[in-house]
């Protein structure tokens, strides 16, 4: 496959453009997509760049189809992905469920917009619950919540590898702000950074002849006749998900050692939290910073440890949603007695001032 980026280079571009370049650099073979704001430009850049590198694209009739065509393409052994947002993310829960049930290495980039329903086309963090636990399954998903364009680039590459290594559907959870704003980043070829892209392989359409008995036919199952059959599959996959979780979990933690209040946030809001912690520290308030990068699996042990070592009395959860990160966190660290405070600003941006004001009002 043709190398996309020969030498590392600085770039100044939107998050959507970044995502398209990262998918190219990851060796993605084909994208299936359907227009919805604010992810459109991922398709726009992909459709211009992909033909130069012999990669494919299809605009499907809807997001259901985009998700299922990805399911088919990855079954046939190709590195395929999609991108969506809001109501499109809702429709894609059906194919995402198939990817969970059949352990398909699907990658989806989600650029969150306001909700519920059509909400706004702009920004939110309201697709956390949907992206982590959507569908009629058990949440066997890998969800990376990015905060910068550099992370969009890095985690798209990492996400393809996670999907193909662990065979659980993998999500890059961004938002409309990250999608549309421009900022600097460094683009690179993964191999030059020592990142080996995992070789893809087919689940159906394998090499070797069935008719000459070189191999058995592959019959991929997704619906079971007996309760006990499904039960065994669910227990097996749950155990596998649990066992690989420690090596997938990622988080950021700063200044929690002596923190009296820990500010917990994810995605782009964590940038405001970082600024807020610095400002609060300058004012003599011992604030700490904790950010789950993976929302699934969640850095539960690491957050518990941060709370324990700091002896913090309060945990402030700040998010551009009405409690989706809060509920996720609460269930993950069940039993902790730290008082939880919340700053919910659904569908609007959060800046350092918002967090500083909230901290001062409760401190």
């Amino acid at each position: 496959m043709q190398q996309v980026i020969t030498e590392s280079k600085k770039a100044f571009m939107t998050g959507n453009e970044t995502a398209a370049w990262a998918a190219l650099a990851s060796g993605a073979d084909v994208m299936f997509g359907y227009p919805i704001t604010p992810q459109n430009e991922i398709m726009h850049y992909w459709t211009r760049l992909a033909p130069q590198y012999g990669r494919g694209f299809l605009q499907t009739e809807d997001e259901i189809s985009a998700g299922f065509t990805v399911c088919g393409a990855v079954q046939s052994g190709k590195k395929a992905f999609t991108a969506t947002a809001g109501p499109g993310n809702v429709l894609m829960q059906e194919p995402f469920g198939m990817a969970e049930g059949m352990r398909l290495p699907l990658l989806a980039i989600i650029q969150q917009r306001g909700g519920p329903s059509s909400g706004t086309v702009i920004y939110s963090q309201q697709e956390v619950a949907l992206t982590t636990f959507g569908g009629n399954g058990e949440g066997w998903r890998i969800v990376y919540s990015t905060a910068t364009h550099q992370e969009i680039y890095d985690y798209v590459i990492k996400g393809f590898n996670a999907a193909w290594k662990y065979r659980f559907p993998t999500f890059i959870l961004g938002d409309g702000y990250q999608a549309k704003m421009r900022e600097p980043l460094e683009m690179y070829d993964p191999e030059t950074r020592g990142i080996k892209m995992i070789d893809t392989y087919p689940l159906i359409g394998l090499d070797g002849s069935i008719t000459t008995a070189e191999r058995e036919p592959q019959h991929l199952c997704n619906i079971y006749s007996l309760e006990e059959e499904l039960y065994d599959v669910v227990l097996k996959n749950s155990a596998e998900y649990k066992s690989i979780s420690p090596e997938i979990v990622e988080y950021e933690e700063r200044q929690c050692e002596d923190a009296e209040i820990i500010i917990l946030s994810h995605g782009v809001v964590s940038r405001a939290a970082d600024d807020a912690v610095k400002a609060l520290r300058a004012q003599g308030i011992k604030a700490g910073y904790f950010r789950p990068i993976t929302l699934r699996p969640y850095p539960e042990k690491q957050l518990r440890a941060a709370i324990a070592k700091s002896g913090a009395k309060k945990l402030l959860i700040a998010e551009s949603a009405y409690g989706q990160l809060y509920r996720l966190t609460r269930q993950e660290i069940y039993g902790e007695t730290i008082k939880m405070e919340t700053l919910f600003m659904p569908g609007v941006g959060i800046i350092d001032y918002d967090i500083i004001s909230k901290v001062k009002s409760i401190f």
């Binding site: 494919g56 299922f68 088919g72 359409g205 394998l206 991929l220």
Partner: protein, 251 residues
């Protein structure tokens, strides 16, 4: 013991035989014809068979071909994804009238419009068999089902979907569109062969609707079953090739 056993297609997967369809169901005939054609065209090693949910799902391990199960109505996009990713494979989507004409109708319509190089076989038995015999898009006027217990009233629920007729309207000339019936085996086999040949030659979309029987949900005996198929269904749904890039009587 039979003196002469009926020939079994080589492409059938014998560990899953006898199959699990109800006595009198037409699926076995359709799958026999498909097996014969896979053998004849020697495409077993590169065929991907995808099946919908519903009675068609019982065919998921029917062939010694690689296969995949999908979701209700979603076989079409899965097969499109496979074909787009690996054009050298022969993709056969197998579905019922509910999956193709109702819950997955947007996929069928748009795959046809895009002239996707896949072959879809849709089995029309005028009802939802697996879920217990509800009204399907193809249920005939006056026909009793679990959700039309007094007979389908077209004033309330419209007229039966004529799939091949509408597919023929939205496809270019190199698509293949036909309606077959399990009552005419040789013709059924010929239509399926043409549909697969059309994909193999890279022409375009290939679609065969097959009129089939469902005595379990129709609550009919053998004679009544055959009467409903040949006299009612085949009267309402004309059998034949609607679009054939190989010309009339393509063999």
């Amino acid at each position: 013991m039979q003196a002469v056993a009926p020939a079994t297609p080589k492409s059938w997967y014998l560990p899953t035989k006898p199959h699990k369809f109800c006595p009198g169901c037409g699926h076995g005939i359709v799958l026999k014809a498909l097996g014969d054609v896979i053998d004849e065209l020697e495409i077993q090693d590169k065929t991907i068979f995808g099946c919908d949910i519903g009675c068609s799902l019982l065919s998921w391990d029917f062939f010694a071909c690689d296969s995949t199960q999908t979701h209700h109505g979603r076989t079409t996009p899965v097969m499109v994804g496979i074909k787009r990713a690996r054009p050298e494979l022969i993709t056969i989507g197998y579905m019922g009238d509910g999956g193709g004409y109702s819950i997955g109708s947007q996929h069928l319509l748009n795959a046809a419009v895009r002239n996707e190089k896949v072959t879809l076989i849709l089995v029309n038995n005028t009802n939802y068999g697996m879920t217990g015999g509800q009204m399907a898009p193809t249920t005939l006027p006056g026909q009793k089902t679990e959700t039309t217990p007094f007979g389908r009233d077209p004033e309330l629920t419209g007229y039966p979907t004529k799939g091949p007729e509408f597919i023929a309207q939205v496809t270019p000339d190199n698509a293949y569109v036909a309606r077959a019936t399990v009552s005419k085996y040789n013709q059924l086999r010929r239509f399926i062969r043409n549909a697969l040949r059309n994909q193999i030659e890279g022409n375009g979309f290939s679609f065969v609707e097959v009129l089939s029987t469902c005595p379990t949900n129709w609550r009919t005996n053998a004679q009544q079953t055959w009467h409903f198929l040949e006299d009612e269904m085949e009267h309402y749904f004309p059998v034949g090739e609607l679009k054939n890039p190989f010309g009339k009587g393509g063999k």
